[in-house]
Symmetry: C2
Subunit: 349 residues, 2 copies
């Protein structure tokens, strides 16, 4: 065995041990939650994931979807558990199960009625993205050329989400809505899944200004491995360029404000991107490779099972074990603990 | 009898005859459509009115409301009739009945799905306002401080409404949404009920720029008698100041682009303005007198029965009978004829 081989073996051993021991939070997983994918999450060491309930539905259908998920919990109780609190995430870790956080990628379940935030919280929704690709009743998604900020209703909803203990996600929001929501929110917020626009020019990615503002208010950004967001030419996206995105965010925002948000779509049907989902209006994503399945991910970070590669990669780049833990999950855990802990009084109303 | 008395008697006689003979279109009536109000419309010589189906509901509830209106048609068939075409308006005139046009004051029935425009048209909806007071999926209402323009979805819906033969109403839209929709639409559009902001400073009123742009594209503006929109101090609103608004619009836009749109709310319950209707968010109207019922209207133009006063007033100001007819209804009739006539091929799809 050469010195290099020895080094790599040691590194791998250390990475495996660290990854196994760490709290790993995938801040966005939109995959079909079948047994196979759940096993992949478990194999990849995911302690908890923000699993998308809906990107488009109103309140009633969202109730259906949350209800339907009870069957997934029941049938896979040996490997997953619901997460409604940080204690649930710690319990998932202790039990060796994957914690499932209910999140939405759009504010459509709130419809036009702020009073629906309460039942959504009571149903277990813990993360809500203010807008997806297009404009909605709160603000604008990143593919809306007008780039409007928050509506009056949107500002009120931000405070209601704060008060109910639901984490606000701005990953897909347009620049003005992103900046205004960071400013409006009394609680730190998240980009659960995005990359830095400075390193990959795409409207779905976040500007330096937005990343710095997020961090200044205590928020956390999960770095996605979706190839088109990692590198200008998506074919260049691999573990190295993914880690470059992580490092860029760490340098800009600080080690306490970066996490993982893979945005995997494993086993999703191709119809996921069909224009009919956009209300009969075709909204171009502006991406090569993103209008067709399968969506390409960064090589060697293209599946939940590959998450240990991130741990090994960060160690190899000289990150301390404590810092690696922050990126893997401790930062999101701290954020969730802060945001989720203030809901009790509001629910009693 | 003095010369003045003789003149006034002649004028009144002439006005009555003209009003009785003319096509009178009230481009906005949101009143409760009970027997008493329908009789008031008939007494006021209304040939047809744009009667509000909803200002807030989604598709399903709108279907309910249109369906429920069948009972109103059935119970009052002696004095009202449905209007789906300009031929129906002419028939209403010939029959001495009031024609009821189904219109909405918000695009909420389209929800987020452009495909719902077709069934709305098939149900008989012939006028749709793009946004009410707040921002929606298409654009912004006039009380939305961000003053955003049309979304991508909003632009597509504009073309779909054009193609289906539904008149686009921009009365309540904010400035940018108003200007962009006039520009985007292939068909002339309407402000069914508003006044000139130059004569009464209020966000619900229309700028000179918007009024000129509307006219340049062939649109028509119905002048409302709602006191807070007619005069800066709503207590000054009367037949004179109302006619001043009409005349200002005629001077700015030309005689072919001005009509009536009274915005009466007769018999509406006070709950019409309750904050709960705004999704639990209180949206201040910014009006003295508009957050409480009854809403004050311009003196002597405060009820459908007073419409002949407008005819007499315009004659008194020296308008020709042909010009008075244009304002009373011929302009809106021309606009509806143009916009509604293009729907046949689209419905066959």
């Amino acid at each position: 065995m050469t010195v290099t081989q020895q080094y790599e073996e040691e590194l791998t051993k250390r990475a495996r041990a660290l990854h196994r021991d760490a709290i790993v939070i995938d801040a966005l997983d939109v995959s079909l939650m079948n047994r196979e994918h759940l096993e992949h999450m478990l194999e990849g060491g995911v302690t908890a994931a923000n699993v998308t309930v809906t990107i488009e539905h109103g309140f009633h259908k969202t109730v259906d979807l949350v209800h339907d998920f009870q069957r997934v919990f029941a049938e896979n109780a040996d490997i997953i558990r619901p997460v409604r609190s940080v204690a649930d995430i710690r319990a998932a870790k202790a039990e060796g199960r994957v914690g499932i956080i209910h999140g939405t990628q759009n504010a459509t379940p709130i419809e036009g009625d702020i009073r629906l935030v309460k039942p959504l919280h009571l149903l277990g929704i813990r993360i809500i993205q203010l807008a997806y690709m297009t404009g909605n009743l709160l603000g604008d998604g990143c593919l809306e050329p007008r780039n409007a900020g928050l509506t009056v209703f949107g500002r009120r909803v931000v405070h209601e989400l704060n008060r109910r203990g639901i984490l606000i996600d701005l990953s897909h929001c347009g620049e003005r809505t992103t900046l205004e929501a960071i400013e409006e929110s009394e609680q730190p917020v998240a980009f659960t899944h995005a990359c830095a626009r400075s390193r990959c020019t795409h409207p779905r990615n976040k500007s330096d200004e937005a990343m710095k503002a997020l961090a200044a208010r205590g928020g956390v950004m999960g770095i996605t491995s979706l190839a088109a967001f990692v590198a200008d030419d998506w074919r260049d996206a691999n573990l190295t360029t993914y880690l470059d995105q992580v490092e860029y965010a760490v340098q800009l925002m600080g080690i306490d404000h970066v996490g993982l948000g893979m945005d995997f779509v494993e086993f999703l049907p191709a119809s996921f991107l069909v224009p009919a989902r956009w209300g009969g209006v075709h909204v171009p994503t502006g991406l090569s490779g993103l209008t067709e399945f399968p969506i390409p991910y960064s090589r060697d970070v293209d599946d939940s099972r590959k998450l240990p590669n991130v741990t090994a990669g960060l160690l190899e780049r000289g990150y301390s074990e404590a810092d690696v833990r922050k990126v893997l999950g401790d930062n999101f855990l701290r954020l969730l603990e802060r945001v989720w802990s203030i809901s009790d009084s509001a629910d009693a109303e």
